[in-house]
């Protein structure tokens, strides 16, 4: 087990390194204005050139890369250029992260509480109206671009229930709509997966045997089907949880929550290369950690899986 985790960790660090290098190189392709900020208009072309050289941007790519990694190991992601001039990127991200974590974890809790039972009931009443209703909901949420129903919710539900349209830190009622919106998607996917795995499991022979033996429907559902159906979900759970921490770009900017997702959009629109770079680093790390945790969790809940043998593609 420990050997497996160590191996996975090593692989992941390598992957992370490659991703960051690729993103770093890609960002060098972007226009130089991203480093000049508001000062660009006041400077002559020569001054701009000197400024960029001082920043190290005229060095060969490999040297820039080396400097970036040296900075990274010292916990320095560079300074913001246009977003909040000269504030270290790490500080900006730290400020924003709290909001995203609160909303992300809240939404995951809500969607697990609603989505998993919904999936279970849908599987149990397969083909009946509850199943149809749930399927309709899932199709709608999965197929229609999220933007559309988020806007509708913001427009109408805020009116009907008299809820504030925008986020306000000091007004607990303003947490409701963003949380609700954030949970809509995950509820649909949890319900969909749960239903599919449950239905698969229900068709297996051992369930027929259990029924023939006279085991009660409740025992079959809870101690046989659900337990087995939960295993494939376990693999993706940590990744989805960690991913919600990065914040939803839509929701954070629609409800003006000062979180990380909105920050990415802001930084891109203001062409703040250093902030974009830092955020990509954080997002990819979270994604990779999520995948590792998923594999480990899966091994814990499913005793049949022996780690280390055959690194198959998920």
């Amino acid at each position: 087990m420990i050997k497996y985790i160590a191996k996975r960790l090593g692989q992941s660090i390598l992957t992370l390194f490659i991703i960051v290098t690729i993103v770093f190189s890609l960002l060098r392709l972007m226009p130089d204005e991203g480093y000049l900020g508001a000062a660009a208009e006041k400077m002559s072309l020569e001054q701009q050139e000197v400024y960029l050289t001082n920043l190290g941007l005229r060095d060969p790519l490999l040297i820039q890369l080396k400097n970036f990694y040296i900075g990274l190991f010292q916990g320095d992601l560079g300074k913001s250029v246009t977003y909040r001039t000269d504030v270290p990127v790490l500080d900006i991200i730290q400020d924003k992260m709290m909001y995203s974590i609160v909303f992300g974890l809240g939404a995951v809790a809500l969607s697990l509480l609603v989505g998993v039972p919904l999936g279970i009931f849908m599987a149990q009443f397969k083909g009946r109206w509850l199943d149809r209703l749930g399927t309709g909901y899932i199709v709608f949420v999965v197929a229609v671009p999220a933007m559309v129903y988020f806007l509708m919710i913001q427009m109408y539900i805020s009116d009907w229930f008299n809820l504030p349209m925008l986020f306000d830190e000091y007004n607990p009622k303003s947490f409701i709509l963003p949380l609700f919106c954030l949970a809509l998607g995950p509820i649909a996917s949890y319900a969909m997966w749960m239903r599919r795995y449950m239905v698969d499991e229900l068709n297996k022979d051992y369930i027929k045997l259990a029924r023939a033996k006279g085991v009660t429907e409740r025992t079959i559902m809870f101690s046989h089907v659900m337990r087995n159906a939960f295993i494939p979900m376990a693999q993706y759970l940590p990744a989805t949880i960690l991913f919600t921490i990065t914040g939803s770009i839509y929701i954070e900017s629609l409800f003006s929550i000062p979180g990380m997702g909105g920050l990415l959009v802001d930084a891109i629109q203001r062409q703040d290369n250093n902030v974009v770079q830092g955020l990509v680093l954080v997002f990819s790390s979270l994604g990779i950690i999520g995948l590792i945790l998923g594999d480990i969790l899966m091994a814990i809940v499913d005793p049949r899986i022996k780690l280390g043998k055959g690194d198959s593609v998920r």
Binding site: L27, V144, P145, M147, L151
Partner: protein
């Protein structure tokens, strides 16, 4: 039965005529009759079509979508249509026809600078569907090529798997944004940005299918007969994969349309002069706060929702129909 009638006749004749010369002729092979025994009435595509037809909703939506696509092309040539990009000036006041609520002249009203929303929606639908289909087709081509190499060639399996693990770990949103950020805005940029992220899933999906199929007996037989690899992939594997490829394509279209909305929202989409559904929704969103103007958001939203849901349902119905397990 047909094969043996002659023999039975012969035998019955034998009792009458005793032995005759006819019995001592060599038997010949009749190709047509040999085929007859191995022939089954089952046709994959016919069964698929038959099961698909049972799903009334999907059939209705399919006809609806085809009609819609045709309509987006016919619409500019219908009488009394307005240009999607021209700003209309009111003849009486000499002012632009801004934010005119839906009426006889402007079926869906006008937008905040006086353009006709009806024609903009159809122009936008055309653009969005074009993006959707272009992305879906390119994704399938790249995805199938990579997936075929990945699944079929044992030498390439490890390197591509490693590559996949890297590419798959980069958050899609970020790649999408970065590409759109680096390249200049335009339809081709959007298509490229989406294909760069989209083919990965497609390749993995097709690879898994190919791995399942590649060691089947008939492929082994082809291989031992000396069929080159590319021929096995194209002639043996591709026909099997057509149904899943079509399923993925029909799901890729709404996904691409949604991604376009997203890119437009964060300011990396098409320029406003090129209407697309994402553009229209974004324009409508700005005016969301005044209830009288909400029609500018609601109309494009309805069109968008209907199209994406239709594609999704058709795709899933087709996947069910294409699965031989569901054939009678």
């Amino acid at each position: 039965m047909g094969l043996f009638t002659k023999e039975i006749q012969n035998i019955s004749e034998k009792s009458n005529n005793q032995l005759n010369d006819h019995l001592f002729e060599f038997a010949t092979v009749d190709d047509a009759k040999a085929e007859e025994t191995a022939y089954s009435n089952y046709s994959y595509w016919r069964s698929t079509f038959r099961s698909f037809r049972k799903n009334k909703i999907a059939v209705f939506l399919l006809i609806f979508v085809i009609g819609l696509i045709l309509f987006t092309f016919i619409q500019p040539y219908l009488p009394d249509q307005k240009s999607p990009t021209q700003i209309y000036i009111n003849a009486e006041t000499g002012m632009q026809d801004r934010n005119v609520a839906p009426n006889d002249e402007y079926i869906f009203g006008t937008n905040s600078i006086g353009q006709d929303l009806w024609s903009r929606i159809w122009e936008g639908t055309r653009t969005s569907l074009f993006i959707g289909f272009a992305v879906a087709i390119i994704e399938v081509i790249i995805g199938f090529s990579v997936g075929a190499l990945w699944g079929y060639s044992r030498k390439l399996e490890m390197p591509i798997t490693q590559l996949y693990n890297i590419v798959d770990n980069i958050p899609t949103t970020i790649v999408l944004i970065l590409m759109a950020y680096i390249l200049r805005p335009g339809i081709s940029t959007i298509i490229i940005a989406m294909c760069i992220t989209g083919w990965v899933e497609m390749a993995r999906f097709l690879r898994n299918q190919i791995v399942i199929l590649r060691d089947r007996e008939y492929n082994l037989a082809s291989k031992t007969l000396g069929t080159p690899g590319y021929k096995i992939i194209i002639k043996n594997l591709l026909p099997y994969l057509i149904s899943v490829i079509m399923l993925r394509m029909s799901l890729a279209v709404p996904a691409a349309i949604g991604a376009e909305v997203f890119l437009t929202y964060i300011g990396l989409g098409l320029p406003v002069s090129e209407p697309s559904l994402g553009n229209l929704i974004n324009e409508g969103r700005v005016l969301m706060m005044s209830p009288d103007l909400r029609y500018q958001l609601i109309f494009p939203s309805i069109v968008l929702s209907v199209i994406t849901i239709a594609f999704y349902i058709i795709g899933n119905a087709f996947a069910d129909a294409a699965d031989p397990k569901n054939h009678v």
